[in-house]
């Protein structure tokens, strides 16, 4: 999790700690630097501090001032280069509700597929 590593950093936003822990573990094993946030406010703070974050992976249904869609919108505006992947237990998410270039995973998702989607977006390249 150290910022000094050159591995790409991702931000996982998920209020369910067990799920967050699980996907975080998978991403770390895949070589990503992982930051974790339980809600949108924490996520914004982490983005402000850690400039190396390349991907936002967020759940939609979260308590707090913003849900995942509004967080994605805020990130799209403030950190345009950050790629966005959205996940939700509600399958019925219309394409127009997703931010531009947004990717979507229905819950429960396969961590391996999320990892490969991340790799497609930002690497790291495996030898």
């Amino acid at each position: 999790m150290a910022e000094t590593t050159r591995s790409p950093a991702v931000l996982v936003v998920e209020d369910e700690v067990l799920i967050r822990m699980s996907i975080a573990d998978s991403l770390e094993e895949a070589g990503f630097t992982v930051y974790e946030a339980a809600n949108a406010d924490q996520a914004i703070k982490l983005l402000e501090v850690h400039q190396d974050i390349r991907v936002l992976f967020t759940d939609i249904d979260m308590p707090g001032s913003m849900d995942g869609l509004r967080l994605a919108e805020a990130v799209r505006n403030r950190w345009p280069p950050v790629k966005i992947i959205i996940t939700s237990g509600h399958v019925k998410i219309r394409q127009e509700e997703l931010p531009v270039d947004g990717h979507f995973f229905a819950k429960p998702y396969d961590a391996a597929l999320v990892v490969s989607a991340m790799r497609n977006l930002v690497g790291p390249k495996r030898h």
Partner: protein, 617 residues
């Protein structure tokens, strides 16, 4: 005696009489022009002469046919006798007159007015007899027709009177006539006997017939009508009637009319009383009113309002409840456009419109929202209507019922929310299962991992069971602890203690999973792995250093094999430290003391549901 005969013999006199010469000429002329039948008879009644008028009247072609015949023989029956008597009388010097029927020579029936008088001879005694017969057939016929008319009129009057009497007697209405200032019963019909108790009151005055206070009241009315001549009416007057003689009196209702009877001079001479029995109608009205009241009550209780809409005018009538539903003051009617304005615009396609009412296509059963004008509330109403059509099949009226179904709608909405909530929970649970599985199956020992997965899922299921009992809102800590440690509960060295406190759904699941990890670890390496170790799980309420109330839970192992800290932090310890801490918003500390492992959770008490009822999940 005839004047002319006298004058022919006498001296002229200046008294207006005919001169003899003139008299003779006058008589001849008169005889010639007279329309009467003038005959001269001898004293035995034989016909000596006949004037021209007589010949025509008697329809005699030749005077010879009749001259010399006895005049009375020309008559028959009563006429004959009268003629004989008249001749005899004339012979005796008497004038006579009779009227009788006789046919002419040609058989034409005629009626005659006959005057018979003696004609005096020179000696002054009757010498001849003069008969003047006037044909009065027409007169007679007129008379007889008049008589017939009079007879018929009188007969008709008699029949009419009898009919009226009968009508009066048999009329279903009570009728009686009272005469004079003391109101003497002059006439009573059959129906009136019900009121008098089948007594014959004819000849009695009203006060004599009914001596009590009722009679006095009746007499007072009669007095007023008699004195003023004004009619008096009483509607729905309650009376007692005896329907049949000997029967009990029944309560009955009459519409009464008292009317003055006037004599030819217009003076009041009596009072006509008529009473219509409206008991059946009143009873029907009462029964109907009762039924309506019951229906209305039922509707009120069910909160149902009824409505009627005139399709052409849009005039809408409704029951009290109807106005209440619409949040309007009770009134007779309102134009439907006002109600249409109360329906929210989004539902204007659901309610009826002028067009759908006029062509009868308005949907019979609909639900729509209204914004009540009195409270501003948004309410759901359901209304059911049917159309009434005219003879041409055109809708003329819309009738139906209406009900406020807001509460039912809210329940429906809650059910939809609940279903969504359930779906969400299920997704969440599956996600947790996925996470647990992913973490558990990470190692190489698949056999061990499979067992561990099943145990972890069992711990999750146990917490789930407890939460489901309380609609996923909260769970008692004791039950969650026991559920998580179920496989070890038979062990006497497991001690569980703490006050009645509640955790929310998330906390319950985390606590269950965390305790399961601790127990599994203890059974493998800790106090539950040998024969004498003990484990205590205790929780309590307390105060933190800064004085805020805290919840404290402690897992403590004793008497187990010496503890060595793990070389690697596995899923179990991470789950305890991170998940438990996060879901209780507190801190968790695992202490691998050599004497025994301990795990302490400390969290703000305020984050625990204060009662078992609150939904804080």
């Amino acid at each position: 005696m005839l004047e002319v005969e006298q004058r022919s013999e006498g001296t002229p006199a200046n008294d207006g009489s005919f001169e003899p010469a003139m008299a003779d000429a006058t008589v001849r002329t008169w005889l010639a022009i007279s329309g009467d039948c003038v005959k001269v008879l001898d004293l035995d009644g034989h016909l000596l002469s006949l004037n021209e008028g007589g010949r025509l009247l008697l329809e005699v072609d030749e005077p010879r046919q009749i001259l010399g015949k006895a005049w009375p023989t020309l008559w028959k029956d009563a006429g004959h006798e009268q003629a004989v008597a008249a001749v005899a009388a004339a012979r005796a010097g008497e004038r006579s007159r009779f009227r009788a029927a006789a046919e002419t020579f040609k058989g034409t029936p005629k009626f005659w007015d006959v005057e018979v008088a003696p004609i005096a001879g020179a000696d002054g005694r009757p010498a001849r007899i003069l008969v003047v017969s006037r044909d009065v057939s027409q007169e007679r016929r007129n008379e007889q027709r008049l008589l017939e008319i009079a007879r018929r009129v009188s007969e008709n009057a008699r029949i009419e009177t009898e009919n009226l009497r009968q009508l009066l007697r048999d009329a279903p209405s009570i009728m009686c006539v009272l005469r004079g200032p003391s109101h003497v019963f002059e006439l009573l019909n059959e129906a009136a006997l019900q009121l008098t108790g089948h007594r014959d009151l004819l000849g009695l005055s009203a006060r004599e017939a009914f001596p009590g206070p009722e009679g006095e009241a009746l007499s007072a009315v009669l007095d007023t009508v008699y004195q003023t001549g004004n009619a008096f009416t009483a509607s729905d007057a309650a009376v007692k009637l005896q329907r049949q003689p000997g029967q009990a009196y029944e309560e009955a209702f009459l519409n009464l009319v008292f009317q003055a009877i006037r004599d030819e001079d217009g003076k009041v001479s009596g009072v006509f009383v008529e009473g219509t029995d409206i008991t059946a109608r009143v009873q029907a009205e009462r029964a109907l009113a009762e039924t309506e009241k019951r229906l209305r009550l039922a509707q009120e209780v069910a909160g149902i309002g009824s409505l009627e809409v005139d399709v052409a005018t849009g005039e809408t009538r409704g029951s009290e409840q109807f106005w209440r539903i619409w949040g309007l003051e009770p009134r007779d009617s309102i134009n439907i456009s006002v109600l249409e304005g109360i329906v929210v615009p989004e539902d204007s396609g659901v309610r009826s419109s002028l067009e759908t009412r006029q062509d009868g296509s308005a949907r019979p059963e609909v639900e729509y929202r209204i914004r009540r004008p009195d409270t501003g509330e948004l309410r759901w109403v359901a209304r059911h209507i049917e159309f009434i059509h005219d003879a041409n099949g055109k809708p003329v009226q819309m009738v139906g019922v209406m009900q406020d179904v807001t509460e039912r709608k809210q329940i429906e909405e809650q059910r939809v929310l609940l279903t969504r909530e359930l779906e969400h929970r299920m997704k969440n649970t599956l996600a947790m299962v996925g996470a647990i599985a992913a973490q558990t199956l990470r190692g190489d020992d698949m056999e061990a991992a499979r067992g561990a997965l099943i145990d972890r899922l069992a711990a999750l299921a146990a917490a789930n069971d407890i939460l489901m009992q309380r609609n996923w809102s909260s769970a008692p800590i004791g039950a969650v602890v026991e559920g998580a440690l179920k496989p070890h509960l038979s062990e006497e060295r497991l001690r569980i203690a703490g006050p009645a406190l509640w955790v929310n759904a998330k906390q319950g699941l985390a606590l269950s999973l965390g305790l399961h990890e601790l127990a599994t670890n203890a059974a493998k390496y800790g106090a539950l792995s040998n024969a004498c170790g003990t484990v205590s799980v205790e929780w309590s309420k307390g105060l933190a250093a800064d004085g805020t109330p805290v919840f404290h839970l402690e897992w403590r192992e004793q008497g187990g094999p010496p503890v060595t800290p793990p070389s690697r932090r596995g899923f179990g310890s991470r789950l305890i430290e991170r998940v438990l801490a996060a879901d209780f918003r507190g801190c968790v500390r695992i202490d691998y003391a050599a004497a025994g492992l301990s795990c302490i959770l400390e969290a703000p008490l305020g984050d625990l549901p204060s009662t078992g009822e609150e939904t804080t999940a």
